[in-house]
Symmetry: C2
Subunit: 446 residues, 2 copies
């Protein structure tokens, strides 16, 4: 066990809560601060996309014995259900038999994580606003308003798990040699709601991630345990078919009737939800370094906010904890070395999942509606089943393996180049599962 430290964790989200449990179990005193009220006492809805837990997330929970507690509050999802405008549903399985991601409501999961952290002995301080941090001595500056009186609280270590708009990072950003970028997508999102049937059952298949892919925009839905679905509309903020263009009830209803006809029965409160719920922004944020000496470290969205299209935001943040914990075990009380090793290991992988997530919007919103793309996926799946040692599809490598994201990105690029060649084969529609294709792929794999 390490020498006991007094540690502040800024942000009581999923990563902050889980990190706090790890630190507490390693023998430290852990205080978690959050500017918002306790999420367990307030209604949480209206601006979230359901989360999906996959292998990297489970690994961090399993290592500390919390996976069973979480498995009870979510729903396994083993495929995409693709809703085209005028045809039957298409299903596309994510992985092999038995492989699934796990749909979780952010509110329910976060409440559970805070319960678990409190049970482990972590102390939470809600409605405590951290406005600044003195990096050299890990001192937090806390107050009601940014321009009002502040109190100072000194710790041995401070973790910034305070999300994409992190105040802890904000201070680090003013240091020389701190690289930083924030880039907003032209696409925003809005939460909508598919309620349960009267008998508590789901209106759509609960074990599917439902997508209505329409190119520049798309709708998706993920099941909750109460029979409802959290539904998310992604579309440009401005221009044609944009949030800006759907300005009244009539336009909105006509738009949904035209583009998402099969949702009429399942989203009864469309108009109310649409105009009540905020339109949210999507940002990719990168920075480096992530740590300051042996005093301060960023983790999760605070140092690598990504767009949600690979369902890896929480998983990447939880994997940060796995790696940090590994470094804690390796380097004992030498926090400067722990921090350096942690950021050096994680940075290339954070950049890789940012890139993969960005690319996946195109896959979800456009390509899933494209017959050629679906054929390509079918070929990859078929070849991968015949030669599991030669080909693990990119989605599986990201989602169902623990191999580094950077490796997945590099191999994914190689696979894309190969499949581009394969799809050029004459009569590929009929030849797709022939020896010609099999040998071509083996040949191109080198």
């Amino acid at each position: 066990m390490q020498e006991s430290k007094k540690i502040a964790v800024v942000g009581s989200g999923l990563v902050g809560s889980l990190l706090a449990i790890y630190l507490k179990k390693a023998g430290h005193t852990v205080h978690v601060f959050d500017r918002s009220p306790d999420i367990r006492n307030i209604e949480f809805s209206g601006r979230s996309i359901n989360l999906v837990m996959s292998n990297r997330g489970w690994k961090a929970l399993e290592d500390i014995g919390l996976d069973e507690a979480i498995r009870n509050i979510g729903i396994p999802v083993d495929k995409r259900a693709i809703h085209l405008v005028d045809s039957a549903l298409n299903y596309q399985y994510y992985g092999k038999e038995g492989e699934a991601i796990f749909s979780l409501s952010r509110g329910i999961l976060n409440r559970k994580m805070i319960d678990l952290a409190e049970a482990a002995g972590v102390e939470f301080f809600f409605e405590h606003k951290i406005w600044d941090v003195t990096l050299s001595d890990a001192t937090l500056h806390i107050g009601d308003t940014e321009r009002g009186e502040w109190d100072e609280l000194q710790y041995d270590l401070v973790f910034g798990s305070d999300g994409a708009f992190s105040r802890v990072r904000h201070r680090m950003q003013r240091q020389s040699m701190f690289n930083y970028s924030q880039e907003f997508l032209k696409i925003g999102y809005k939460e909508l709601h598919i309620p349960a049937n009267a008998d508590g059952t789901h209106k759509l298949d609960k074990n599917s991630l439902h997508i209505w892919p329409r190119g520049e925009y798309m709708l998706m839905a993920l099941a909750n345990t109460d029979g409802s679905f959290t539904c998310t509309l992604f579309m440009p903020h401005e221009g044609e078919n944009s949030f800006e263009s759907l300005k009244d009830k009539e336009t909105l209803e006509a738009y949904f009737a035209e583009h998402f006809p099969d949702t009429a029965d399942v989203i009864p409160d469309l108009v109310e939800d649409f105009f009540k719920n905020p339109t949210s922004y999507l940002v990719t944020m990168k920075c480096f370094p992530w740590t300051y000496e042996d005093k301060v470290a960023l983790i999760g969205d605070a140092c690598h906010a990504i767009v949600p299209f690979y369902g890896q935001g929480m998983n990447a943040g939880f994997e940060d904890i796995t790696i940090l914990h590994e470094m804690m075990q390796k380097h004992g009380n030498d926090w400067e070395t722990i921090f350096k090793a942690y950021e050096t290991s994680r940075k290339p992988n954070a950049d890789a999942i940012a890139e993969l997530s960005y690319r996946n919007f195109m896959e979800m919103s456009s390509k899933t509606a494209d017959a050629k793309f679906l054929l390509q996926k079918k070929i990859e799946k078929w070849f991968s089943e015949k030669h599991p040692d030669k080909w693990l599809p990119l989605y599986s490598r990201v989602t169902f393996s623990l191999r580094p994201y950077a490796e997945a990105l590099a191999l994914g690029n190689q696979q894309n180049a190969i499949m581009e060649e394969v799809m050029k084969i004459k009569n590929i529609d009929t030849l797709w599962n022939s020896e010609v294709v099999e040998n071509k792929i083996i040949d191109l794999l080198g």
Copy 2:
């Protein structure tokens, strides 16, 4: 003339001062704020690289009749003088006969610009620290300290010309959909000094930009009118041959004796300068948008800080003013349209000069010491003189023309691709000015 507005310009640097003159001459009331004391009353030295004015800068001065006032305080520079470790000096002319850039001391130029602005009726408020700006009503928040009491001053328009670490931009950065990046080079710089001879003459050729190219690091010097040179050492912050590694008098002297032997006579106060002057950082900063409604606009380094290796930082900032002024003449009192047209026109060009400046470090520090590169430049110059309609060297297009930077970047890329082919010609050393080469280039130009 436009309807008269009350305008605040934040930052009294070169761009802020010149912008203020333009605005004042357009009939507005103009207040310039700066957090620092009046540069005219303090010693200014120790952390600057000399500036070079070239055609874009001159254009902005000429349009408002200020070019003659500036020509008197600088020195024309028509070539690079390349100092290798153990050979005679090489000279590389920048352009055609009579084409030159203009070396100016930042302190002297800035003082002159403020004098000119005051003479035009601009009011300056030094030691007034702007900490924040309310974008929606162009209100400045001014106070002695960031956490102390602030006063509010409301304007019709606010310009942020407050440099790479702009407080005005800092507020805009907190808006949704504001894209931003800052990226530090591993290379830093330090000012050194070559004094005048006893009789006031220059110790080196004053009409050359002197470079000591050494790969990962380099020294350069630009003349001042008082017979001195401002000398700048560029090298990595850390690692081998870095600022960090030159930690005492002995190491420093041995290092200069080995790598810059011919500077021993001309930099007498090397040790004192080196350890007294700060090591400065180099950052590329990009952002977008640059404006907020009809209220606030960023200009110069505040929206596009670049590294200094093309000598275009000030020129790009002055060209911002030329374009803004063009839009003011075109769109009358419609400031929202003026601002939109200004940022739309400038953004791609700011990105292009950022890229070109970044690339030019390699050219200055490594390639100028490379015989093959010097031959390539010789071929380009020869071909360009024979076919001025077909080939304007990239440096000339950036420095001696007013064509957009983005166009220069695109054409530069094309020229690089062509020269790569040309340099593969067998016996190019002897054939360099032959018909074979001439026809090859014409052929590749298509």
